[in-house]
């Protein structure tokens, strides 16, 4: 099973260039989708796109021609409101044709505002309400262990999402069962829908929290592809791995970056032009 941009197929520099290209394509597609649909979560999308591009471009063993392969790696986007980023990533990796992105959020489209596994190839579970993806990922990793499979499971969590208690239930289960094949990536952009996370309900000291729950913790720059890539090396401790990826909401478009209103604000036509210019510069 190969992804067309698998790390093993390319030298490190070429891999990082491919990831970077993919991230740029995904941002541009997502901008078009949100501009056309007049809805979406552009700030959340741009925060997580470098993580998605690295995963799909260089890490996950998934085959777009066989999205149901039982031995595929499992990826779950628990922050399902970043569906636009996921759709664009899947399309650019060949799970479905890129032109289908134009149907995002249109009546009867497969591309709902939140992902649906029964309609979109490559989606593993229907997320949207927060705090759901992590327990499902724990179940995926338990299944792999019961089947003595080496496949891995990766879940991406929003940081605000960690205010949902179900995540900590799942963190305890994964730790109790020592699910070393499970990686949880926290998209730590420090903003949630209404305000900064630390003003809303404090998450810090976040790395200490995960460590105290029994996880191996890695803290990285969540837009630095090489750092993301190395953070996704297998567990060195036999414990599940938490990657705290420090990110910037709206990353890549100066007037959106780190601004709370761009959680789900829709850019005007002029802003779309300006954003496209920055992304293609």
């Amino acid at each position: 099973m190969v992804n067309r941009r698998r790390l093993a197929d390319l030298d490190p520099e070429a891999t990082l260039r491919a990831v970077s290209d993919l991230a740029r394509q995904v941002r541009l597609s997502d901008l078009e989708m949100i501009g056309r649909a007049r809805l979406g979560h552009i700030g959340s999308d741009f925060s997580v796109i470098d993580i998605l591009a690295t995963l799909y471009g260089a890490v996950l063993k998934v085959n777009p021609a066989r999205p149901d392969d039982p031995e595929r790696d499992r990826f779950i986007l628990s922050k399902g409101h970043a569906a636009g980023a996921l759709y664009a990533t899947l399309a650019h990796c060949g799970f479905f044709p890129v032109p289908e992105l134009e149907s995002f959020a249109l009546p009867l489209s497969a591309l709902n505002g939140h992902p649906n596994r029964n309609k979109v190839p490559g989606v593993e579970t229907n997320t949207g309400p927060l705090g759901h993806g992590f327990p499902v990922a724990v179940g995926c990793a338990l299944a792999a262990r019961l089947q003595r499979s080496s496949r891995r499971t990766v879940v991406v969590l929003g940081d605000g999402e960690l205010q949902e208690g179900s995540n900590w239930e799942a963190a305890m289960t994964a730790s109790h069962y020592a699910l070393a094949s499970l990686t949880a990536i926290v998209d730590r952009n420090r903003l949630q829908q209404g305000a900064r996370t630390e003003e809303t309900k404090q998450l810090e000291p976040l790395a200490d929290k995960w460590a105290s729950f029994g996880w191996e913790v890695r803290v990285i720059d969540g837009h630095h592809h090489a750092q993301i890539l190395s953070s996704l090396e297998p567990s060195s401790s036999g414990r599940p791995v938490c990657v705290i990826a420090n990110t910037t909401k709206g990353k890549g478009v100066s007037f959106m970056e780190d601004r709370v209103e761009w959680h789900h604000k829709v850019p005007s036509p002029d802003q779309i032009l300006a954003a496209r210019e920055e992304l293609t510069a």
Binding site: V136, V138, Q147, T173
Partner: protein, 321 residues
């Protein structure tokens, strides 16, 4: 089984039949796993754990995690029986049931143990009378309420082989064997357990045996009740309900659940639009139960042979104007 014998028949806890059938299935199919929330004992899974220690996943007291983990195991190709006390499984994890199981369409078997008022004196926090109402509102989720051990076994086998979600309501309050012994459970197909044309009682779970007793009481008065075991609440056996209403002219529903949205509401919604007949809907009214044992509470709310017989007399009188 005739009504005369059901009054004195031995009774059974359906959880035992559930656990025995699950072990039998697990011996044949290594994809079968049990997932529980510190409920190994109350779900009767001690023997399962002894025989398949690695296939008993205990997530601790964490119902949201419980259901999500079940969905993930199903994604990974396992067949999870997610088992917990019905009030906590359906109340605490309702959004996981909706999103991770029903909407995602995963092959997760949700096993609501000790439903209704089986926990008696433990009170309304531990009663599960809302589950049928809550879950009927969730698309794509079959809701199954077996009436006796044989039907419980058949439903467990069906749920393991059906590639999709389901909710099994596994009774704790002892019930007699209703029969006929089922070799195969068919989703959405009710069973007429007694013929009759004076009125129809549509019952589920613990109430089926009591409906048969009510039929026995009324038989002495020249009233012949038709009794239907409606073990699938969703999707409802529309054909049997419409036929019964047309042929008997009056319908009584009875369930160990709130009357705000379960079996009675399902039957009424169908009949009022397609075959209106006088109806009585028996169950727990929209109130929290007082303190008492299960038997006391069932009597308190009229969920007894006498209560069903009274409702039948009344609705027949009404129907005949």
């Amino acid at each position: 089984m005739t009504p005369q014998t059901i009054l004195h028949a031995p009774t059974y806890d359906c959880r035992k039949a559930f656990a025995e059938e699950l072990i039998a299935l697990a011996r044949q199919d290594e994809r079968i796993v049990a997932v529980c929330n510190d409920s190994v004992g109350s779900s009767n899974l001690v023997r399962f754990r002894e025989e398949f220690p690695s296939r008993l996943i205990n997530v601790g007291i964490a119902e949201q995690d419980l259901v999500g983990v079940g969905a993930g195991l199903a994604n990974g190709g396992m067949i999870p029986f997610v088992s917990a006390a019905a009030p906590f499984l359906t109340g605490r994890a309702l959004e996981q049931i909706k999103a991770d199981v029903a909407y995602s369409g995963t092959h997760v078997i949700l096993c609501g143990q000790s439903p209704g008022m089986a926990y008696g004196e433990l009170g309304p926090t531990h009663h599960s009378i809302e589950d049928l109402s809550w879950l009927r509102a969730v698309a794509g989720l079959p809701i199954i309420v077996p009436a006796d051990p044989g039907e419980t076994r058949a439903a467990v086998r069906w749920a393991a082989s059906n590639d999709g979600p389901s909710y099994l309501r596994i009774g704790r309050h002892p019930v007699p064997a209703i029969g006929p012994e089922q070799t195969e459970f068919i989703l959405g197909r009710s069973i007429q357990v007694r013929p009759g044309n004076s009125a129809t009682v549509i019952a589920a779970g613990t109430m089926v045996a009591r409906a048969l007793e009510a039929a026995d009481l009324l038989h002495q008065e020249g009233v012949d009740l038709r009794i239907i075991n409606m073990s699938t609440i969703e999707p409802l056996d529309r054909e049997a309900v419409l036929k019964a209403a047309a042929e008997t002219g009056a319908v009584i529903t009875v369930e160990e659940a709130t009357t705000t949205g379960g079996l009675g509401a399902a039957v009424a919604t169908l009949l009022v639009q397609h075959q209106p007949v006088p109806m009585r809907i028996l169950g727990v009214p929209r109130q929290f139960a007082p303190t008492g044992s299960t038997d006391f509470l069932l009597g308190y709310f009229g969920l007894t042979a006498e209560g069903i017989a009274d409702a039948a007399r009344e609705v027949i009188h009404h129907a005949r104007g």
